[in-house]
Symmetry: C2
Subunit: 154 residues, 2 copies
């Protein structure tokens, strides 16, 4: 299934979210300054905030905090998909993997794919959304599965 562009449209209910439906959610590049600024606030480890320490550290250079990588994807999918859903609430994340260090100045591109759609009680469904960020070579850097409750029409 090829990804559809995430254009604005009508509110999406559970019935509009068949397993396999896939959304392009955008691209973003983090500068070294952005990586360090986020990490100073939320994850001030040497390899996220200091380029010299990072060069000598486990990643061999500056790498974004996992919390930052997740936030980048959340912003993309919030704008392009979740804001269009008849959402009742988020439940959490059942999987989140950081597959490669995220370096400065690499464009990250996101997709969100419906991976499960299960009626819970009348009027709502549990929707799983598989999120992926890939680098410029198409290699995944982050995979996650988010769970949310979405209203159904029926």
């Amino acid at each position: 299934v090829s990804a559809e562009p995430a254009d604005a449209g009508e509110l999406l209910y559970a019935e509009d979210l068949p397993v396999g439906r896939r959304f392009e959610v955008g691209s973003r590049t983090l500068s070294a300054e952005e990586i360090k600024a986020f990490a100073r606030e939320w994850d001030p480890l040497p390899f996220h905030v200091d380029e010299e320490a990072a060069a000598a550290g486990p990643f061999g250079g500056l790498a974004a905090s996992g919390a930052h990588i997740l936030a980048v994807y959340v912003r993309m999918t919030s704008d392009a998909l979740v804001s269009r859903l008849a959402i009742l609430g988020g439940r959490g994340v059942s999987e989140l993997k950081f597959l490669q260090p995220v370096r400065p100045d690499v464009a990250l591109t996101g997709t969100s794919t419906i991976s499960r759609n299960e009626s819970t009680r009348p009027g709502s469904a549990l929707i799983h959304i598989r999120g992926e960020l890939v680098d410029e070579g198409g290699e995944p850097v982050m995979l996650m599965t988010g769970e949310m409750l979405v209203r159904s029409r029926g």
Copy 2:
């Protein structure tokens, strides 16, 4: 096992992280302004950025973004525990649950507990850290399990 205060100390290797070892990682209260400012940047959904829309929304009031709640815990455990580890890198999160909406002006208190410690190759171990944030009544608002590789002495 009662939690130990997270005081600065020597670098912690895999051998220092038996299953069940538990660390107090701090407390933090988010104001309505902080909740809205984070969400404007990373998760601009109406119930995270606008108090009137939030009152009419699924949470019946302003609630912090899940990305924000995670970042609050990451900051606590980064300062109190991860900065002390002989870390080789994070691998991801195998579970992340948001159990209750996080409202403004509620103190969140964190703990980090070693839940798995498994040698991988010589010199390193896969460590699982179970993170919890509880509210002022001791009710959990977030649970997560983070996975990281930590050097061993042996």
